[in-house]
């Protein structure tokens, strides 16, 4: 049983108009096996939260703590955070030319586990995991994410999630750009990881569509850099009906308010 606690987190980013504060006092506790949906309008800071947790150098933490079983992730490098048990499934996975998926996955697995996986069982595990995600075996020999379609990249993210077995996963709009079939396959992968390892999930999304496949225990509304409302799965349905406008400050011209 593990716990991820975000305590009063403030973070900012350098823009061409100067430093801009994006996260404004984020508080959240996620336990193993729990699935939290984080919903909110465009530009509210959901992705910033995801990247700040993973340690992207672009985002500067101003104050607050992120504790994984009591250890502060914010003092760690991104690779140390991954070793501590955090995983970020990215909205736009990065292409790494020249590095084959096979080598990449094996290197990551070795680093996370602290020892190289036994070659036979590893190959079998990889092959089966790819099969379940309906990935073409030739992906293993291709460069990391290079030339993958949007859907293939998302499957590759979930493949890593299943193989690296983190304690907590942040899924940053994993549903975006997926057709219905791909959405189902990717969701099944996430659900398998949750069942097999007791994974705790923070699922960042705009839409309720993915919540039909990955059932959240708790739904949060994120607006203007912090959580503004928390409820059960029924909150998602409510948002579907009424949108996010009610959570935006008067006169705010957010993208969804304009839409």
């Amino acid at each position: 049983m593990s716990t991820l606690e975000i305590k009063d987190l403030y973070a900012s980013v350098e823009t061409k108009d100067g430093r801009k504060q994006i996260l404004k006092g984020v508080n959240l506790t996620v336990n193993s096996g729990e699935t939290h949906a984080i919903m909110g309008p465009n530009g509210s800071g959901k992705s910033t939260l995801a990247y700040t947790l993973a340690g992207h150098p672009k985002y500067e933490v101003e104050s607050g703590q992120v504790l994984l079983d009591g250890e502060d992730l914010l003092t760690m490098t991104p690779d140390e955070r991954a070793k501590a048990g955090l995983f970020l499934a990215m909205q736009y996975p990065v292409e790494v030319p020249g590095v084959s998926m096979t080598n990449f996955l094996r290197t990551a697995k070795t680093e996370i586990d602290g020892q190289a996986p036994a070659i036979r069982t590893w190959t079998k595990e990889l092959t089966e995991a790819m099969k379940r995600l309906k990935m073409d075996p030739k992906f293993a020999t291709r460069s990391v994410n290079e030339g993958f379609s949007g859907g293939e990249k998302k499957r590759a993210e979930v493949l890593q999630l299943e193989l690296l077995k983190p304690k907590f996963a942040v899924l940053d709009e994993t549903d975006s750009g997926l057709d219905v079939d791909a959405l189902r396959i990717v969701s099944e992968g996430v659900n398998r990881a949750r069942e097999n390892t007791g994974l705790g999930i923070l699922m960042v999304t705009h839409y309720t569509r993915i919540l039909k496949y990955i059932k959240p225990d708790i739904v949060h509304v994120f607006a203007d850099g912090h959580f503004v409302k928390t409820g059960g799965p029924e909150l998602a349905d409510e948002l579907e009906e009424s949108g996010y406008d009610q959570f935006l400050p008067e006169g705010a011209d957010s993208e969804s308010a304009l839409a």
């Binding site: 993973a54 340690g55 992207h56 150098p57 490098t77 991104p78 690779d79 955070r81 991954a82 070793k83 995983f87 970020l88 990215m90 996975p93 990065v94 292409e95 790494v96 030319p97 020249g98 590095v99 084959s100 080598n103 990449f104 094996r106 290197t107 990551a108 070795t110 680093e111 996370i112 602290g114 020892q115 190289a116 070659i119 460069s143 990391v144 890593q160 690296l164």
Partner: protein, 408 residues
Amino acid sequence: MAENTEITIPVADPNDPYAVPAAMPSSADRAPRSFDLDAFAMPTSRQEEWRYTPLDRVAEFLDVFEPSGLTTVEVTGIDGSPLDPAQVGVEVVDRTVAPSGTVSKPSDRISAVEWNVVKTATVVTLHGDVAQPVRITVTGGGDAPDALHLVIAADAGTHADVVVEHHGMARLAEGVEIVTGRDSNLSTTFIQEWEKGSKHVGGHRIHVGENASLRHSMVTLGGDVVRIRMDQDFGGPQGDLNMLGIYFADPGEHIEHRTMVVHNHPDCKSRVVYKGALDGQGAHSTWVGNALIQPTAPGTDSYELNRNLVLTPGAIADSEPNLEIENGNIIGAGHASSVGRFDDEELFYLQSRGIPETEARKLVVRGFFGELVEEIGIPQIGDHLMSIIDRRLARGESEAMTTVWEEK
């Protein structure tokens, strides 16, 4: 209307070749070829040929010197076993005894100095189907400048693979002649794994026989200054030349490769692919790829490519492909060149999967070179090269990671 105006093309001043953009210097390279030292002026950085080279760091090789004679050469099978003398001959002869001195002539002052100070040549002759790759181990003789002349001659119809490994501490001017007979199939792989502070200059003069194929690989992974020039021509139609290069420059190192491919016969093919990684302040690499397609070479198929991967800021990669096509009836003549940076987003992605920054860099470099090593296609040589690249990357490696790579 000035209908009869004659167009005059300005001629480049050899002392300032880029003064007139319309008259770029010719990659046809009309520079002298001579065994006579006086045929070559003392290099200056204003000469095209020397503009990238730190001349002060190779000064000891620019004029006649007394070689220390301390460099050693050993010729064995790739696993250290003895060779079949019926297939592989090894002799040390006076430098003027053929085939030594028969493959073209020195093309720059460093090569002319080497020829004039060296007394003997180590000649390796190859006959028939040589099953086991031949390893020539050159061990540097320390701080004092030395010269070495090496000749690799493959008879008509020979199939053989040769690996030349350079180790130790050296100040070496090395001249290499490679001559391949008709219908032969030869691979030569030169590995520079010098200790820190070493210097290695010189040239390869290469003659590819009619309907013969040569794969010439350069792998330069260490040395304070390394500058090697390759000059090649064909002995008849249907020749196939494949040049591969891998280099890795550390802070303060200068690694320079210059290839000069000459298509002088019909229907020959050439490929030149050089890839380099640079790490740290003052790391400097130079690749100059010249290709000349002469009027006598219809049906030529040529291509050259150079890619550089800059791992950390402060490194400089110079990349210069030059093509001169004097024959319109060819299959192809292309070139590509790039200098790229190991991107922060790539680094973050790998890190977010638990891979520390130093390991992430190695993974990317290994992949970058691995693509090229795979092309070599001879497993014994490819594996050997990968293990050398891994050794180069593994300085301070964790044991777990070493295992991952060995199991590949």
